[in-house]
């Protein structure tokens, strides 16, 4: 009598096994330490710079006889913060208003961390399939599970482990930011923790799928890692080039906007739409629709990467 196993059961069995294997290996601990070191270093540097700036501002206010608790002064301070953020983060008014509640330290460390996330994901999962293809241990698996389910199970296992790493580090960031900023209200702490977790998780899913794809098309883990990093640089380059050109016909229309005037019109502006990185900004957007669209685009990219990984593994000799 042949055992009857559904696809979900197969995926579940691969997911369980791979998650247990990953947690048993030292790599997860090393990655967690690496992630925490990065967050810690970023917090230290950004926190130091921020506290220096605050101290200077307070000193200047004191010498000018300005009361920092005055509502007018607070509003002025927020306007200054918004101007600063509009230059370095976004010029979206709604988003800037929303980011005012977030301590600058947390915002900057989080943004830095997001840049680090795709690299960390590549380091974590580069050999998930390539590490089985080279030594041919995948041969023990494919007579037992469908290749499709093997990929999905391994991908979900990576998602689970990375979600846990992300949760630990995000909570650490928020806790430190709360300690450094007394005016970071408890309600905001909860809301922002959830928003940061959701946005970083959604962002990570696309890059986790990319790593699965890279690992499924080459037999060597090292080559998969290099390929993954090269594609990441490609993704960042597309976004950078695209975002630094103006869409054709938009400079004149926006001639009141100084930043738009600085940019040259070019079809290359459309390149940003091909880069998943471009959509990451909206994952922190306060408008639910903007967040949903960004999340869907990330999931769409994840599906494309996973689809290509399926195709690669299904058609290849093992």
């Amino acid at each position: 009598m042949q055992p009857r196993v559904t696809d979900l059961q197969e995926i579940g069995a691969v997911w369980r096994g791979e998650t247990v294997r990953a947690t048993r290996s030292g790599r997860v601990v090393v990655l967690l330490l690496l992630f925490m070191m990065f967050v810690g270093l970023s917090l230290t540097i950004v926190g130091f710079l921020s506290s220096q700036l605050s101290a200077k501002a307070e000193e200047q206010a004191k010498s000018a006889g300005v009361d920092l608790n005055d509502e007018k002064v607070k509003t002025q301070f927020n306007e200054g913060k918004k101007q600063f953020l509009s230059v370095v983060i976004t010029d979206d008014e709604e988003m800037l208003d929303s980011l005012l509640a977030l301590p600058v330290v947390l915002l900057f460390v989080f943004k830095l961390t997001l840049r680090f996330v795709p690299l960390l994901i590549a380091l974590m999962g580069f050999d998930q399939l390539a590490g089985e293809l080279g030594p041919k241990s995948i041969r023990f698996l494919v007579v037992r599970v469908k290749r499709t389910n093997l990929i999905l199970g391994k991908f979900l296992s990576q998602v689970t482990i990375f979600a846990a790493l992300l949760a630990v580090c995000t909570i650490l960031m928020v806790v430190v930011a709360r300690i450094l900023n007394d005016d970071f209200a408890a309600k905001d702490v909860v809301i922002w923790t959830l928003r940061l977790l959701a946005s970083s998780f959604v962002l990570a899913v696309a890059y986790l799928a990319l790593t699965t794809l890279c690992s499924s098309i080459v037999k060597s883990g090292a080559v998969a890692l290099v390929l993954n990093i090269m594609i990441l640089f490609g993704i960042w380059a597309l976004a950078f080039v695209g975002e630094n050109f103006a869409f054709p016909g938009t400079v004149k229309a926006d001639d009141g906007n100084l930043l738009a005037l600085l940019r040259t019109e070019s079809w290359a502006a459309y390149l940003q739409y091909f880069s998943v990185w471009h959509y990451g900004q909206d994952l922190l957007h306060p408008a639910p629709l903007r967040f949903a669209v960004a999340a869907l685009v990330h999931l769409g990219f994840a599906l494309v990467f996973l689809g290509l990984a399926q195709l690669a593994l299904k058609k290849r000799d093992l």
């Binding site: 042949q2 055992p3 009857r4 069995a13 369980r16 241990s137 041969r139 023990f140 000799d317």
Partner: protein, 303 residues
Amino acid sequence: MSQPAIRLEKLSKHFGLKRAVDDVSFEVQEGNTYGLIGPNGAGKTTTFSMMCGYLFPTAGTIRILGADPFEPGALKGKVGVLPQDAILPPQWPVGALLTYFGQLSGLSNAEAEAKRVLERVQLPETWSLYANQLSHGMAKRVSMAQALMGSPPVIFLDEPTAGLDPKIAASVRSIIRELKGNHTVVVSSHNLQELEELCDASAILDKGKLVSAATMADLTGRLAEFRVQIAKGEVPLFEVKAQSGVKDARLEANKVLCVTFDGQAVEPEEIITRVVGLLAQRNVLFTSVWLGKKLEEKVLQLT
């Protein structure tokens, strides 16, 4: 006549310009132990890998218990495989690894089954050892154990005794012998004596082509000839040839008397007894008698 459990039709596999397997067709009957024989580069492992669904054929078809091995999930629960060069994942303890394999196969009692197969290959003490702590022989037997999990009806064993010491190799052969009848087993090996002893039938490959596919009796001529190793004395060839049922008798190199007989008309044991009786009467001393040709001789002749 039993049904073919495995059927290969006009199977080819090309790697660029190299034709690793070229137009190979044969069948393996259900319950048989079948050998894949050939020198290095003959295409044994490539054929084996296509049967297991690892390599896609360039042309031709394969059916394992009526299923196409390239259909997703087609081999689940039907096939156990000991691949030749696959390395056990090093980060797993053996017991957990086998249990994981059992769960992937959908076995409800995966852990108990893992223990059972480890017992069967006489390695229960490796349960807690990591796969990268195993010696070559142990790893081979653990790989064999995973192929036996869930008692699949078809079992593929690629070089199951390669690199094993004689005692362990004998125990592996004994396991294969026990599988006979209840499982269809395909064994690829360079050890022709082992295959001759274990297999009911064999395919001989050379340079990617099938040079022979037949029962072991037909391959070795067990039903058509026997040989006697002469030690001393003059063989009366005319008298031997005159025995009823004997088709021909000749002396081969190293004083080996080869007698060809009509396997349909006379039982091998009857004709052997008559011929060696005649030799004894004529004071011809001999050291051994064996049926047919050694498989090794046949393979050397064909490849």
